[in-house]
Each structure stands twice: as C-alpha cells, then as structure tokens.
Symmetry: C2
Subunit: 98 residues, 2 copies
DNA sequence: TGACTAGCTTTGATGCACAAAGTGCTTTAT
DNA sequence: ATAAAGCACTTTGTGCATCAAAGCTAGTCA
C-alpha cells in the first residue's frame, strides 16, 4: 500500500494548507487576517487564493466594514470535502508510521 | 496562532513524505521496493533520496542479495526527529480544524 | 491635495519536480 | 562469448510553482 497516493496535490503548499485550515475553523476570514496569520506577502497570498478559487475550494465575498472595502473568504462544500479527504489521507499515513 | 509554521519544508514533497513513512515502519527498505511502492521513476526517486541524505535524514547501505547489488535505506535519528516533528505539526493543524 | 489602506495584478528571478535518456557495472541467459 | 537485462544512479531539459517586489486602481481620511 502506497501511503501517499490519496494526498491532494493542491495541499502540498503550506500556504494553501493554512488558508484551508483557517477557513475550516472560521466561517469567514478577511484577506488581511489571512495575510497576518499566515505571515505572507499580499501578492503571494492573492495568488494562492486565486488557485483555490479556480478549483472551487473557496469563495470570495467583497463587502464593507463601515465604509472601507473588506474582502472575506469562505470554504465551499467542494473545498471542505477535498480538505477532509486530504486530512484523512494524512491521518492514514500517520497511523501507518506507528 | 499560525497553524502551519512548524511544518517542515522538506516534507512538502509527497515522495519524500512517502519515503520517510516507509522508513519509519521498516528498518530497511530497498531502492526497488521504494520505487514500486511509491510508484515513481528511478531517477526521480534517486534525486529525492539524495536530498534526504544530504540533510542526514536517511542513510544508505550498499549490500548484496545473493550476488546482486542491493541498496537499502534507513532513517537516522535526525530524520526520525524531524519527521516526528512534522507529524506533530500536522496533527496540531488537524486538531485546529476540528 | 496628499498620504494611506485594501486588494489585487504583473513582472521577474529562482528553484523544484519530473520524465527520459544515458552510464557503468554486474548478472543471467543463450 | 555475446547478448540482454537489472540495478542504481547521473545528466539533461522542460515546464511549472513559489515568492518578493513593484505597480496599479479605487476608495478613505486629514
């Protein structure tokens, strides 16, 4: 049995992994919160977010806080399923090693 | 708290992750067994193995089976520690998301 | 008006993953 | 003896991903 065959390619990036983790825990997270919690540059974050969005793992909501623009992100059903699948694969791998 | 800050960069590759898993479970694994279990080309495997070796995570043993050459790999203390640290970080992240 | 924030996009450099082919050595088959 | 095949690489080349930095647009606050 191959211990790694069910790992999701999209989640090999620590940043995308972090984004998904944050979005599993929080209903909505703003661009700036993601940026500071994951400690990345805005450009870098934006590009990872757009890959996740292209794969329909997350969705974007452009809104306001007071009169300031505020973009938030949330996980989709598809994304949740993909992420849980990945976690299951990781857990299987961890069990495998014990 | 950043959920991904303790993840090990070397273990972002599924192949290196797979090699380490195999070596956690088995005292020694041959080149060909790794190759077939992880389903990779020999060149690709060799290059990942050499990265792991450069980082002292694994060590090589060149021997024989009968009269045929047989190279096996095993995990080092350093590698075991690094891998366990990575697994702990993954587990923390998984817990974080639940 | 002038500085500042938010959220991107673009650019460009660097590095990595991977397949494929080549290599040197040995074994096994004919 | 010669050919074929296996083992364990190394080399080469391509394409892709990561990332920082800079640029950009639109709005905000002083």
């Amino acid at each position: 049995m191959n211990p790694i065959e069910h790992l999701n390619k999209l989640f090999e990036s620590r940043i995308r992994l972090g984004v998904m983790s944050m979005l599993m825990v929080n209903e909505e997270v703003s661009f700036n919160d993601l940026k500071s919690m994951l400690d990345v540059t805005d450009g870098n974050l934006a590009s990872h977010l757009s890959t996740l969005e292209e794969n329909a793992y997350i969705k974007v909501h452009k809104g306001f806080v007071g009169r300031k623009t505020n973009t938030t992100y949330s996980i989709t059903k598809v994304g949740e399923k993909a992420f849980k699948g990945h976690l299951a694969a990781l857990e299987a791998m961890i069990k495998f090693t014990q």
